[in-house]
């Protein structure tokens, strides 16, 4: 939350002095290619995906090269599961569709590559599903006319343990977008043990929602390490400015042997709102 206000402050500062931006030509050095793991498992019963790619030069300007033909084994408390590469989707590996993660369980993902990437053939990621006993009651929308955006307000209960959450939105079942900047991760320091009483957790632009749409907010309990990873990803992938940004630094990872990215286990709850009325119609005392 602190960060969001800092960003806002930074934008206001820029507006105040009237900064201008333009494209800039720059030559950057290349670093060697490393393995990138992007995947998670959750308490949903479905197939869970892990995507393997490689790092590229910064101005590669194409989709990242997939790492195909690897053997992925997920070690669970109930035994080992093989994750198979999906036909037609090179580099994407999936569990069976009856798989689900259990709160508090440890999961180890073993990756064995067909050829060496980043100087190694074997990579491992270890994660533990959180035990957060949170409750998600409902969501509501509030339209902010001066800014033409909706706030998604959350009614939920956070248990008195130390917990971390991620929020994602789906409109008519489709992810709003899956760029990190549109998702939010929070720690529960400010709300620990409380009912959230309509805490605003997400912005949706005015043109993204209309009457008849179905809005779903996904609330996931995540681990501390994944929270750090995602927070860093958001910061480092987003714009920086000399006023509020610390020095750039590489994003943490839980992929042993020098891989990048993250493999995590999360607990998922959802709440859905069907917009039967015009969502921009004033519903409260705000003009």
């Amino acid at each position: 939350m602190k960060r969001n206000y800092l960003t806002l402050l930074g934008i206001l500062a820029l507006l105040a002095v009237g900064g201008c931006t333009e494209k800039y030509d720059i030559r950057l050095d290349d670093s060697f290619a490393r393995l990138v793991v992007d995947g998670n498992i959750s308490t949903d019963t479905t197939f869970h995906l892990v995507r393997l790619t490689k790092t590229t030069s910064y101005f590669y300007n194409e989709a990242p090269p997939a790492v195909s033909g690897a053997q992925l084994v997920l070690n669970t408390p109930g035994g080992s599961i093989t994750m198979n590469e999906l036909p037609g989707q090179p580099g994407v590996y999936a569990t069976a569709d009856n798989f689900y993660a259990s709160p508090g369980s440890n999961y180890i993902l073993d990756i064995r590559l067909a050829t060496e990437v980043g100087g190694a053939r074997s990579y491992t990621a270890t994660t533990r599903a959180p035990t957060t006993a949170f409750r998600m009651d409902s969501i509501a929308l509030e339209y902010q006319r001066p800014f033409d955006f909706f706030l998604v307000k959350l009614y939920a209960w956070d248990p008195p343990t130390t917990d971390f959450y991620k929020f994602d939105a789906l409109i008519n079942g489709k992810p709003l977008t899956d760029t990190a900047s549109r998702s939010l991760v929070v720690d529960d320091r400010f709300i620990n043990g409380n009912n959230t009483n309509g805490l605003a957790v997400m912005f949706i632009r005015g043109d993204e929602l209309k009457q008849g749409d179905t809005l779903t907010l996904v609330m996931s309990a995540i681990s501390k390490d994944y929270y750090d990873f995602f927070q860093q990803l958001r910061t480092q992938a987003g714009p920086s400015n000399p006023l509020f940004s610390g020095p750039p630094a590489n994003i943490a990872s839980n992929i042993a042997e020098g891989g990048l990215g993250f493999f995590d286990a999360r607990l998922i709850k959802r709440s859905t709102l069907i917009l039967t009325d015009d969502p921009k119609k004033p519903v409260n005392n705000r003009p």
Partner: protein, 787 residues
Amino acid sequence: MVFTSAKYKLLLIILFCNLSVSLLASDSDNAARKTFTVSGYVRDASNGETLIGATVIAQNGSGTITNVYGYYALKLEPGYYTLNFSFVGFDSEVRIFRLRADTIININLGLVSRQLREVVVSADRPQERLGQAQMSVNRLDIKNIRQIPALMGEVDVIKAIQLLPGVQATAEGGSGFSVRGGSPDQNLILLDEAVVYNPSHLLGFFSVFNNDAVKGVELYKGDIPPAYGGRLSSVVDVRMNDGNIKKFSGQGGVGTISSRLTLEGPLQKDRSSFMLAGRRTYADLFLLLSKNEQIKDNTLYFYDFNAKTNYIINDRNRVFLSGYFGRDIFEGPNFGIGWGNQTATLRWNHLFSSQLFSNISLIYSRFNYQLGAPEGQPNAFDWFASMKDHTAKADFTWFAGSNNTLRFGLSGTYHRFNPGVAEGKGNDSPFNRIEMRQNRAFQGGLYVSNDQKIGQKFTLKYGLRFSAFSNIGEGVVYQFNERYERKDSTYYPAGKIYNTYAALEPRVSLAYVLNEQSSVKASYTRNVQYIHLAQNSTAGTPLDIWFPSSPNVKPQYGDQFSAGYFRNYEPWGMEASAEGFFKLNHNAIDFKDHAELLLNEYLEGELRFGKAHSYGLEVLVRRNAGRLSGWVSYTWSRTFREIPEINKGIKYPASYDRPHDISIVANYELNDRWNFGANWVYATGSPVTFPTGRFVIGSTIAPVYSDRNAYRLPDYHRLDLSATWKNKPKPGRKWTGEWNLSVYNAYYRKNPWVINFVPDPKNPNITYAEMTYLFAIVPALTYNFRF
């Protein structure tokens, strides 16, 4: 810990032995050859303001300069003397007299007349400074500062300082600055002796110093006198005007961004005066012009007040009371932030005798900020933090003999740090109250130094500062393991002193006069810093968190060596200097990657410690007189940091490492009515960290970075111009006015403020570099008046 090592004990003994021997020697001199003291104040004849740094020289070459209260004292043998009093921009005064007893000569200097200005090139007698052991100091009078073209016409002390050799602005348009490679929090910024913790208004684009209320500034970049302590890099000593003691007068200005008004006058003529100064910006009025509704609803302004009064009780006693209050307000419909400094100083100048000058001060200083979302808004909250000091200090100057000037004193400061409290607003707020534990600490200092002349050519200045710092309960100290994870904590009850650091800070410098025009100087100083700023951005924000040294945070200490050559070209009124320096900073503080500095109870776990060093050469040629005045400065310097946990322990250039730095400041007085100013700055681009690779998570492109600060921004350069047109001087006219047109960034250089790497909105696989620059050509018109 080196602080109490045998080496320093030895040094201490040597210093004091030397001191006592030389003083005894001067006493025996007195017995053999009786000397008398000439002393007094040097003032501006028009308003009674004391002049700081005015030169007093006798025909036999003995001389001195006035102290920060305008006082001087000179020990001379009996005889006939011609004393010359001079100060930049004023006519010199000469007094011829026979010295038979201690004599008081108070001098009022008149502003230099135009006719004279055209004939006489130099009114100052800079040769006195050649022989002084003090080096690495720059003095700027407010008159010099006003001649420099300024951003949005807002003349600014800090922006003027940034044009001096060895000083670097940390970001375009910002008030943060680095002195000889040090961090911005290593600058001790004083306003009438009170520490100004955050000298910036409007996110740094303006400083807190209102130029109408300020007399001048001294910047110590090295060779910091022992009277000052607590910071490693520099001292910026800003003094407020005392207030016109002769007659009621005023000055002010109406500018593009702000207006200001200063009123001053005698409360009782020649005894007591006051000064009141205020200014306010109206940048928010421009926001109303914006078509964007989001911007329109914001308010954005700052205001500040300076007030000072003083009372001359008698020849031996004078008291001063001064204060500053400033506030920045930045408010939108659902978010607001405000911050400001408040200072107050009560001072008592007392002359025990003409030879023993003293000043006793009580000082209060506070910086605070609050931000939040108002009640009724979603996620309404309040967050505030502050830093508060109470200081008492006493300083003495003893003009012990014709060859010795002894300074000594002591000071004590009680610090209170409130790193932050945040809480929700409204009855059904989901937010808990998050309260950082307050910290309390005491910082004490004790110093003695002597300026000793040895023969006609040699001057030695040596001194020692003893400093001590204690953490005072109530407090909790967290213990961290080698991976900086919290293991344990210890609680200390209120009033308990649970940790103390002490250090000796030797400071030595010497000057050798080569001839009438030139001298060489060298110095060594050690400085210790006990409080630090948790700030890892380069430009600086109002969200400052100061934190004390503690069992986990050792004090930073620094050693600086400098040597220089100084030369005056008197026929042209020019002075030139070349100084080299080497600086080593131990226990330098940096922050771990992705550090969380705000509202973090375990802030100390985010700190990493190492070494920093810098070295460089500064060349300055300055002309203070004549129609064409100004300076040219060139600095070559490097500054590096080495922190085991940062950049894999490899040495990296600090963010302030900008090897080449040039400033040219020129002012040309065409005639009585037209005056032109220009300045040009050039600096090597700041070091930055850029990506050397990328990877994709979901559809977010994430960077893989180079080594820390492995790249550089393009070089920075900028030209500013100004023209001032004064109304016709008429005899008997009380109101004088002038129009000032300034142009910032005159040839429209797009100096990158930041370079970001952003995805193309049309094709998310494409990323490109995008540079943000802050200022196009910024013209500004200001009307200044005086009555």
